[in-house]
Amino acid sequence: MTAYVLRRLWQMVPILLAVALLIFVIFSVVPGTFASATAADGRNVVDAQVLERMNREFGLNDPVHVRFGKYVAQLATFDLGISLRSREPVTVVLGQRLWPTLQLTLAAMLLALALGVPLGFVAALKSGGWVDSLSMVFAISGLSVPLFWLGLMLMYLFALVLGWLPSFGYGDPSHLVLPALALCVFPMALLARTTRAVVLEILHADFVRTARAKGMSEMRVVRWHLVRNAMVIVLTMAGLQFGSVIGQAVVIEKLFAWPGLGSLLVDSVSTRDIPVVQGCILCIVIFFLFSNLLVDVLSARIDPRIKYT
């Protein structure tokens, strides 16, 4: 198993390199520089000399191949460069944002699993009944709402109208509830649908018929034979979902002023703090690859057919 994990880690390297190259290329042609962004709000009369010196200080005037060479040389030593805006190492800047994003996405994913999977189970077991119809209507609606709008509505309802929860902020667990809730709706709906489909499929599987022929009650059939089998697929699905959740976290973080990688990314794009942008995307990609690795390891633990190969 250790060997397996190590090999998977090794396989990540080319993907990461490719991603690094890709985002470098993208952001080497991005219009506007950090210097022009600092003057973009039109508040201060722009000092051309300072802008020019900024470009020089950060090497923004260098030709592309020189910048790329520097970038690769830095990457080789796990150095992501210096944030143009705060002049701190990008790794430090990212480090401060990692935990909040992890917190938010994990909470949303766990919530989605905790709500979506049972919902899908119940819908499948009561397939054709009103519980099934209702939960599937709910699920498909959940997949059809613009995320920021959903977040805003939750904010209005739970913070302003009901006054149960704070509308923004970061710190104690109550701050996490609303953003996690908003973020969990999409994966929850998907998981509910997946779970339902998987469970329905398994309910018609031969081994479930065998289990029934053994004289098992439906409860036991579900507990002894259905759950684990459904879990393998649901888990894989959840792992894939994780990627899109991290992506959507960008929207939620911006809306709820959540201090994660997503809001940092958006802010850094608009201020053209390119090293931080590159770092953020790399970080998110690593995040996703690791979550997939975790899912694969877990699936292999549950499913004896999957070997660590």
């Binding site: 031969d206 018929r209 053994k214 004289g215 089998n229 499913d303």
Partner: protein, 331 residues
């Protein structure tokens, strides 16, 4: 049916329906037969004749779109066709158990075979898991699996098809049931393994006194092991008789067709009866449940069909020696 003693299983005018596209059709109709204790009863017919549905009905495992419509199933004299799910559940596995066609998928891929056998003891004998797992080793030994104490730790995908079917049989016979429904138990297996498995079923049931309803599309399999045979076509039994009799004197044209399509046994039997030498196939295909033809349902495929066959469905004709046939022109 037999005067005097009560048969182990009696099926009387059983009618099972299937619902498709808002329309309900009879997949099985007017089904009657009886199985004695310890008897091996064969049910034969092409796929789609309603054999498996019948077996599921006996197990009480009909699920939508299949449903019981009318008729009676008596197990040890007790009517079970309308038994509640809980009561039926106690019957299943313990008194009536079943071996399915597909050993590759009949077992849960995520549980060890030992555990899957042990479940039977936990469910029906009230054993704890630990004890049950020991019993599972013994049950696996009984179905002639080598090194059963090792095999119980295996997962289904680690076993061959024949081994898996042995495991399925071990599960089915774990609690010494009175009736075993074997639905095409050897179809998916290599020819070499088929005989072993049939022999295994035969021997174990004989030893335990378990009656067997052996379902197969393969008359050869039936001929090998059954005492009595019923031939099904399009949801109805078209002929029922002792095994010897069916093969030596097939009365229904469908039965004849089936026999004549058999390479080994068929060639011999037909040679004896009709003097034909060529292997023959029955032309056409089994009709779908939704459009069973009117009249004799076999008439579109029957070489001897007359206007009467098209107009009228034949009733069951009882013949001497307990045999019966459903044909206007039976031999």
């Amino acid at each position: 049916m037999k005067p005097g003693g009560i048969a182990l299983l009696e099926v009387e005018d059983l009618c099972l329906s299937v619902t498709a596209g808002g329309k309900s059709c009879d997949a099985v109709a007017d089904l009657s037969f009886a199985i004695e204790r310890g008897q091996i009863f064969g049910l034969v017919g092409e796929s789609g004749c309603g054999k498996s549905i019948t077996a599921l009905a006996l197990m009480g495992l009909l699920r939508r779109p299949l449903a019981w419509r009318s008729g009676k199933i008596r197990f040890k004299g007790q009517e079970i066709q309308a038994l509640g799910p809980e009561a039926m559940r106690h019957l299943r596995g313990k008194h009536i158990s079943m071996v399915f066609q597909e050993p590759m998928t009949a077992l849960n891929p995520l549980a060890t075979v030992g555990r899957q056998i042990a479940e039977m003891f936990v469910l029906h004998e009230g054993m704890g898991w630990h004890e049950a797992e020991k019993a599972a080793v013994r049950a696996l030994a009984k179905v002639r699996v080598a090194a059963p104490d090792q095999r119980v730790k295996d997962y289904p995908h680690q076993l061959s098809g024949g081994m898996r079917q042995r495991v399925v049989i071990a599960i089915a016979l774990a609690c010494k049931p009175e009736l075993l429904l074997a639905d095409e138990p050897t179809t998916a297996l290599d020819v070499t393994v088929q005989a072993e498995i049939l022999e295994l079923i035969h021997d174990l049931c004989a030893a335990q006194g378990t009656a067997v309803l052996l379902i197969s599309h393969d008359l050869g399999v039936i001929a090998q092991s059954c005492e009595r045979v019923a031939v099904m076509y399009a949801g109805r039994i078209v002929e029922e008789a002792g095994a010897q009799e069916v093969f030596q004197r097939p009365r229904h044209h469908y039965t004849r067709g089936l026999i004549s399509s058999l390479p080994l046994l068929g060639a011999r039997a037909i040679n004896a009866a009709n003097g034909r030498t060529k292997l023959q196939e029955i032309r056409g295909m089994v009709p779908a449940v939704t459009d069973f033809p009117a009249g004799c349902s076999f008439h579109p495929r029957c070489g001897m069909a007359t206007q009467a066959c098209i107009d009228r469905a034949p009733g069951l004709t009882r013949l001497e020696g307990g045999a019966s046939v459903r044909c206007h022109h039976h031999a």
